[in-house]
């Protein structure tokens, strides 16, 4: 097996490879969406509310952006293990556990960066929105919508981080063939088997996938900017 066979696998539509790619995208996209649902409102609230300890919270969010994936994996593993507090859910070694681990990993990124973006935008919008007597909830919605382009970039950063990590999904997913095996864990496995050219070929596939997602997002942004500014 070598690099050209990686290309062969892609072109002939090898079912196993496609299943792995499909699972990778599913897990990471879901994790990105969940992180957005938690991280964006969280970032907005911290940006707009004064509360004791606010600066400490901001520093902690920023620091958590650098959470090592393998540590996140280990923590989620201990949580979901049968011997752990959430063991009865029985979701260790399933894709659900992988989504949870990646969500934990990228929520701080989304919260920390959106906090900054929204705080900057609020500085600009504050006078006008106050004059229009816009209430707190409406303010959050307005800022989130008006910051949408920057926020999409932030989501892409989160997506990229999750798509590239192997430590968390390896530990909580178990790299089970046809079940929890994703691109990054496959690359790790093929490397450990000495199939280096194949591993690199798969690496190229992974990078291409991430680029495609980014190109798609860029296209959407370009279209919306032309139509709505």
């Amino acid at each position: 097996m070598d690099a050209s066979s990686a290309l062969e696998l892609i072109l002939t539509g090898d079912a196993t490879l496609f299943a792995i790619v499909r699972l990778s995208l599913l897990v990471t996209l879901l994790a990105t969406v969940c992180s957005a649902l938690i991280g964006l409102p969280l970032g907005a609230v911290v940006a707009l509310t004064a509360f004791p300890g606010r600066h400490a919270v901001i520093v902690i969010f920023n620091g958590l952006m650098g959470l090592p994936p393998v540590v996140v994996g280990l923590l989620v593993f201990l949580l979901l293990s049968r011997s752990g507090p959430l063991g009865d859910l029985g979701i260790l070694f399933t894709p659900a556990a992988m989504v949870i681990a990646q969500t934990v990993l990228i929520t701080p990124i989304i919260a920390a960066l959106s906090r900054q973006v929204i705080e900057d935008l609020w500085a600009e919008y504050r006078d006008e929105l106050t004059a229009m007597e816009v209430g707190p909830l409406a303010r959050v919605k307005t800022l989130l919508w008006d910051a949408r382009f920057s926020l999409v970039t932030i989501l892409l950063a989160g997506f990229g981080r999750a798509a590239a990590e192997v430590g968390a999904v390896m530990i909580v997913g178990g790299n089970i063939e046809n079940f929890t095996r994703v691109m990054t864990t496959t690359i790790a496995l093929e490397t450990s088997k000495g199939n280096l050219p194949l591993a690199i070929g798969l690496g190229v596939v992974l990078i291409t996938l991430i680029l495609v997602v980014n190109a798609f997002a860029w296209g959407v942004r370009h279209w919306s900017e032309a139509h709505a500014g």
């Binding site: 600009e124 919008y125 006078d127 006008e128 106050t130 004059a131 229009m132 007597e133 816009v134 409406a138 307005t142 008006d146 949408r148 382009f149 900017e225 139509h227 709505a228 500014g229």
Partner: protein
């Protein structure tokens, strides 16, 4: 154009916000006293212009009158009440902030914020009133300076306010745009909306004012009907300002 002479929608159920009465108002930021000992009554009717050189505290006075900021000493009442009623005032800032949306969406947003339906016909009417008809789908940030200021006016009018506050709205505009904005302000004033506007431009004050409140260095120097102010100013500072002196 609707005549709001007998406007019932412009005043809230709580009654009018006018007159706005300042009693011994100070405004201090840190160690700096921006306004000192302001006693003033702004009543309904034709436009009141807050006139004065830059740094005289006009913008601060305007924001206090609107209720955007609160005095550090003294009190302000609105129609006899301590707080202005919601939804009765609108403010046009010197540098208008455009929402990152289309022109129509900006007006729609203002309507919704005022508790009114973002009706397409109403949006079109408001845009026509400020001369921006046909620009509905243009991204608001791509408008020229003059157009943005007019959009800000449309947003303010969307609130159907009793009082319209404007802070040097034409300070950064070219003469043609300035005229366009002044014309709109004039029409709005005639329709029954109370205008309170700041400017440092004598010419603009002459064109629009019916009553002048003259400020210098944080103090209220003179307050007179426009005609009297420009022909027979009673204070020394006012005289020097009308004569064109820079440092009052």
């Amino acid at each position: 154009m609707l005549d709001r002479a007998a406007s019932t929608s412009a005043t809230s159920v709580l009654g009018s916000d006018l007159p706005i009465r300042f009693a011994g108002v100070d405004y201090r930021v840190g160690a700096v006293l921006i306004l000192c000992g302001i006693d003033l009554e702004i009543a309904g009717g034709p436009p009141t212009i807050l006139l004065g050189p830059n740094g005289s505290g006009k913008t601060t006075l305007l924001k206090l009158a609107m209720g955007l900021i609160t005095p550090t000493a003294g009190a302000i009442t609105y129609g006899g009440r301590g707080m202005p009623a919601p939804g009765t005032r609108a403010f046009v800032f010197q540098k208008p902030m455009m929402l990152r949306r289309t022109v129509a969406a900006n007006v729609g947003y203002a309507l919704k914020a005022a508790g009114r339906r973002p009706d397409r016909l109403e949006i079109a009417r408001l845009l026509a009133e400020v001369g921006l008809e046909g620009l509905d789908d243009r991204p608001a940030r791509r408008l020229s300076g003059g157009e943005q200021q007019r959009l800000a006016l449309a947003r303010a009018l969307a609130r159907d306010p009793e009082v319209l506050f404007l802070d040097e709205p034409t300070a950064s505009l070219d003469p043609a745009s300035t005229k366009a904005v002044e014309d709109i302000v004039g029409r709005v004033a005639k329709s029954g909306v109370k205008i309170v506007m700041t400017t440092h431009d004598l010419g603009q004050a002459r064109r629009l004012a019916s009553e002048v409140v003259f400020l210098a260095k944080g103090r209220l120097i003179e307050r007179t009907p426009a005609e009297a102010f420009f022909t027979k100013p009673s204070t020394d500072e006012a005289r020097r300002f009308v004569a064109g002196d820079l440092v009052i």
